[in-house]
Amino acid sequence: MCSLLQQVAQGASKHNAMMFLTFLYLAACLVLTTLATDYFERLDLTPLPLGSLLASFEFRSNETLSAYNSQNFRYFPRSLGQVLQHADTKELHLRFSTGRWDTETWGARPWDGTKEGGTGVELWAWINAENEKEAMRKWITLNQGLSGLFCASLNFIDETRTTKPVLSFQPAGTHTQNGSLHLLHGVLPGEVVCTENLTPFLKLLPCKGKAGVASLLDGHKIFDASWQSMSVDVRPRCLTGQECLVEIAQTIDMVLNIARAKRPRGDPIPRPVQPHELICDETKSYHNHETCYPVDALETPEWSLNDVFGRPVAGACPLCDEEGPEAKSLCLHVPHSQGVWIGAGGFEVRSGPGEREKRCWQLVPGERFDFDMPKTSVRTHAQLDLTDELITAERTMTGHGAAKGGMRTVFTNPSSKDPVDIVVFESLPWFLRPFMHTLKAQITDTGFPSEWEVIKDVYYRPAVDRKRGTQIEMVLSIPPSSTVMVTYDFEKAILRYTEYPPDANRGFIVAPAVVRILNQVDATGNAKAIYIRTTSLLLSLPTPDFSMPYNVIILTSTVMALAFGSIFNILIRRFVAFDEVPENKLSKIVKTSRFRIALLKERIMGKAGKKE
């Protein structure tokens, strides 16, 4: 609101008229700053090793609860708000992710993993309902609504794919009606996230993708990223002494490969470069004009916003703050010693001592902004001052064959002194039947020689065939500098012929496991949540030869057509001798007229014959 007024004011002052508007603007701003900031956006750029770049977009807007309830939407997207109100959803978390985060190279995840989901689409929500049945009904309504809104197959999250986690998720908002809130969680691990999901996502933003940092969001670049995650979080937020707010936070995080992103859109094929473009190690003894030991992969090429996103920032979104720390909508996390060539259109602010070195820019509405980052060469994330993940988790399937298999999850705690407590949440489809008696946790490699109880608690909800999947939540404690392997065996069910999805021979994708790290505190001493997710798995099920039923159907149909057709024909047809059939009038007329014509013909012909 302030910015709008300011724009108006600027326009006015340019024309040297209506000076009082400036006064009005100042007065209005004084009134409005008592309210919390209504819209905020930020892009954080962090170079990663081996020529990658992490871009984190964050957009946040608020609505007061009363305005929200009376459907008086300003920055909060109306389409989403109505769906949420219709389904009585108090808190919503929606995630779209592709690719995988490479912990080894890139370090810890952005947002401590709280803003990312497993591969595909993940959705969890707190729904206000009287009982579980009603909650499920509202949940289905919510999924149907979101499915249409985000162009995703969220409507396929039915009861078999819905779980009710107990330990893994905590509400992020402040809720008053705790008793009647139901947490429901659903995943679509096979969903392919692409531009059709990005467009509705951008539409929820007040500046749509036309101005501000959101103008950088181009489907071609986002979905060519090595890893990307989009999130939508809606939560009620009550600060003491203020009216409760409904906050929507949208984030897009992606890791771009700079060399790949720099390729022109018209020609993205990585053709072999021309000989003079090769970057060779010239110290090699064999180096000559046709022998080249390449050294380009480890260098981060020079880049600018235009290079990696295909366009510069189209000025600030006019709805953002003008002043204060929240107004700096573009930040680059590089040390101050690193030179950056800045274009016009933004004011640079460098971070002060004490915090991680970064430089931020305050953008000007309507003015394009870009900068140039020169070539660097960094190989490890330690060089970039990135933090390590507290724990790494790797889940794989063991065994082979169509009948049985095993699940193996390996957790590694790199810390030398602190044990890590985690909750592992797995939701398995019903046709994967785990044998819980085979659940075993063993410490395979440790620098901590003492007895340790790994599994502290297990929450297990067995599957019901064709009704619901298995839900396993395990509280594990991983001793310091150790590797823990959790294994269990499972059996693959044989599905009914019609239950197989299309492309049954691909197998089924098993949703990633969600790992929540417990008992972590942030810099200010408050408890914080840290999540990591494993990769999804491909479960190959015993599949029938689908051509066989078709052959059977075709054969049966043919036999039926031939045998039934002819038998039916013989059975119902009445065979009557030709002379038994009584003549009807029409045929009588035809017959007599024919006879007469013939007679006439004969007569004429006869006469003609006589003449000759």
Binding site: P270, P294, A297
Partner: protein, 746 residues
């Protein structure tokens, strides 16, 4: 009904009909073999085609050329530096030959991977086979699909030493160059795993075992870096420096399992159509000119090679070990001198990888059971399987024939004895008379024999049903099958030093077994004793399978059959033993045909003479013919022939003696058993062939020991003396190879 039944029962004992089954059996076996010989004809084989539409072979542009070759050359220097023997001039001017250590070698390969920004890991393994330790270290890198989620992967393998123990420097270099090239593309839907193994046998096995967590963690270390389900494997083999002419595609897996035909067809289609490189199968370049590939004889040779590889069930390259895990894999080998360079090879691999990358589902569309005749022609299971089944049926027919025969005896009886009806079924009196009028006693012979009273009595020789005593033959057969596991265990677990001595000893023991057993059995007291032991209970099985409660007609006089005389007892014993053995053999051949067609076919052909040998005490000609076939179709003699054949065909040069070749083969069997789990040859020889052979040999030996008139017990000493020379001959012939082996050892 009664009439029908009686005429059927008469048919059963009709001598003409009883003479037919051996011919049917022979027909089945010959038919099976002829069937195989027909397969290479155009009428019986089909053209190959791509079944899975998603593969789209050769539909993509390949870009692996230009400056990638500069990089290839540089990598070649790096790789050759650590793989090949380097000559270095020392300070004093002398030439020194140096070879890098495996650790140094792997360090270099990993550094090249790292240089391309690819994550790498290594895995060490150790196998203990026959007292020899085999150890090595695999190195691999994973190109993560930039937008993939790590659920699927493609593996490209380059063994440092190829199947023929040649150094695959160019192949490893190509793999590293491709790794760098692939990592720049963002279109991958599957991760690409690039594996460098020290050899083609143990290294890939250790790696895939660990990948699927099927390994023994004590000997094979676990993988630290993993990806998703493996959808396809391509092995690169380019074991020389010069330009090549053709690509050879190897596809045989362990235990005769084959990759999906689509993978082979895709490779052939890409190589020959897109890249213009001719393709070969089954070492065709050794025996067929490229323009003669479609000739009948060449197709038959390809078929034979394929069947041989399938029957042996051993690795034919690094791809073989993936097959037991239902992972489709092939090896591409550069062959000949031509004008194609490593970039062309690289483009084939690139295009093939792109095709596999296109797959949404795993390979499932095309055939898994096939025999290839040429790169564009194949025979599917529906066409070739009947041949093995026919051979298997041949044994079963013989088994049924012998079983029927064992229920009757040719007994000399006075006519009045027969005409006397049994007391029980007076209602069927007339039928019996009618049955007697039948010509079922056509072989009745007038024998003039001096009777006790000096009066000539007319006696007839008729088929008379008797009780079957199956306990002893069944027990003997079971014991034979169980004990046949012992020599198998001894051979596959033997230390390599003692392998030949053990084999020699085993041969001697095994050949002595039938001789010894036939001597024991010739002494009828054992049979009589067991008769007392088992006799009454075994009578429960009615001689001709007619349930007891039915009215008995004709000659069936089960209840009142008199005790057998020793000679008949011996004949029956041999017939039952042979019948049961052939029944099991037929079953084994048939079942094996569905698991490993070629193995079952070869075993069936090798065992076929055994079906016609037998206990012929009264026919010296048949007995001798049986003896010859027993000696010839003995596993050890056939092995000798095979070695000679292999040497003649030029697989081994003259420096290899028979003994050396045999030792190599035995080591391969023992290695295959313990590393790959290749059970084909040991199980086929020791659990199928050997027991059948021993049973056949017992029959043949016994016919030389037993006498026609059944008074053997009195004559046994004399017969033993008479036969001593003969038996010794037999023994000599049979033990020939083992003694040769021993001689050569000296």
């Amino acid at each position: 009904m009664g009439l029908l039944r009686s005429s059927l029962s008469n048919l059963r004992t009709s001598p003409r009909l009883l003479a037919v089954p051996p011919y049917i059996s022979l027909l089945c076996m010959l038919g099976g073999i002829i069937w195989i010989l027909l397969l290479p004809l155009d009428e019986y084989s089909r053209r190959t085609y791509i079944s899975e539409n998603a593969l789209l072979p050769g539909q993509v542009h390949t870009y692996f050329h230009g400056t990638e070759q500069n990089i290839f050359r540089a990598y070649y220097h790096e790789v050759a530096d650590v793989l090949e023997v380097q000559t270095k001039t020392a300070e004093d001017g002398s030439q020194q030959y140096m070879k890098a250590t495996p650790a140094h070698r792997n360090e270099r390969i990993r550094s090249i991977f790292h240089n391309s920004g690819i994550k790498t890991a290594s895995q060490s393994y150790k196998y203990n086979v026959g007292g020899q330790e085999l150890h090595g270290e695999n190195v691999y890198g994973i190109v993560h699909a930039p937008r993939g989620d790590g659920t699927e992967s493609i593996v490209i393998v380059a063994p440092i030493e190829n199947f023929e123990k040649q150094l695959n420097t160019n192949g490893v270099t190509l793999l590293l160059t491709l790794a760098r090239y692939f990592s720049r593309w963002s279109l991958w839907s599957k991760d690409i795993i690039l594996l460098v193994t020290p050899d083609t046998s143990a290294g890939p096995q250790a790696w895939i075992d660990a990948y699927l967590s099927q390994h023994n963690p004590e000997t094979v270390s676990s993988l630290t870096l993993k990806s998703g389900a493996i959808q396809g494997v391509i092995v690169i083999d380019y074991p020389f420096r010069h330009l090549f002419h053709e690509l050879h595609i190897s596809y045989d897996g362990i235990n005769g399992q084959l990759p999906n035909l689509d993978l082979i067809n895709t490779a052939i289609s890409i190589s020959s159509s897109q890249c213009g490189i001719p393709t070969l199968l089954q070492s065709q370049h050794r025996y067929a000119k490229p323009e003669h590939q479609h000739h009948y004889l060449n197709r038959l040779k390809v078929l034979g090679h394929g069947m041989r590889n399938q029957a042996i069930g051993h690795s034919t390259g690094a791809h073989s070990v993936f097959m037991p895990y239902h992972i489709d894999a092939i090896t591409l080998t550069a062959i000949g001198q031509g004008r194609e360079d490593e970039m062309a090879f690289g483009r084939v691999v690139e295009s093939l990888t792109r095709s596999i990358n296109n797959l949404l589902e795993k390979f499932h569309q095309s055939f898994f059971f096939y025999l290839l005749l040429q790169n564009t022609r194949f025979v599917s299971i529906g066409t070739y399987l009947p041949s093995a089944m026919a051979v298997g049926a041949g044994f079963t027919v013989m088994a049924i024939y012998l079983w029927l025969k064992s229920g009757y005896e040719q007994r000399e009886q006075g006519k009045e004895q027969i005409t006397k009806p049994t007391e029980r079924d007076d209602g069927s009196q007339d039928k019996i008379e009618r049955a007697l009028a039948d010509p079922n006693i056509t072989n009745e012979q007038l024998l003039k024999q001096p009777s006790a009273g000096g009066v000539d009595r007319v006696k007839t020789k008729v088929w008379k049903s008797v009780d079957r005593h199956i306990a002893l033959p069944a027990a003997l057969l079971a014991i034979l099958y169980l004990t046949s596991l012992v020599p198998m265990a001894i051979l596959v677990t033997a230390e390599h030093e003692t392998l030949l001595t053990r084999t020699g000893a085993l041969c001697t023991v095994i050949i002595m077994v039938p001789v010894g057993l036939s001597f024991i059995l010739a002494d009828n007291t054992y049979l009589v004793d067991t008769n007392i032991l088992f006799g009454p209970s075994t009578a429960a099985i009615s001689a001709n399978g007619v349930p007891k409660d039915l009215p008995e007609v004709g000659l069936i006089t089960t209840d009142s059959s008199p005790p057998l005389d020793p000679s008949t007892r011996l004949t029956q014993f041999h017939a039952i033993l042979k019948a049961l053995s052939l029944l099991v053999l037929g079953l084994q051949i048939t079942v094996l045909a569905t698991l490993n067609f070629s193995l079952s076919m070869f075993l069936g052909v090798l065992c076929s003479p055994l079906a016609f040998t037998g206990y012929y005490p009264s026919s010296p000609l048949r007995a001798r013919a049986s003896l010859i076939s027993i000696v010839l179709f003995n596993p050890f003699v056939i092995t000798n022939f095979a070695i000679m054949g292999a040497k003649l065909a030029g697989y081994y040069d003259d420096s290899f003696g028979m003994k050396e070749v045999l030792r190599q083969w035995l080591e391969a069997v023992s290695f295959g058993w313990s590393v790959w789990g290749a059970w084909g040859v040991p199980v086929g020889v020791f659990c199928v062939w050997l027991p059948a052979w021993i049973v056949a040999a017992i029959g043949v030996m016994s016919s030389f020991i037993a006498d026609e008139d059944g008074t053997i017990k009195n004559k046994v000493e004399k017969v033993k003396e008479d036969m001593k020379g003969g038996v010794q001959k037999v023994q000599k012939a049979a033990v020939r190879d083992s003694s040769q082996v021993r001689k050569r050892k000296k």
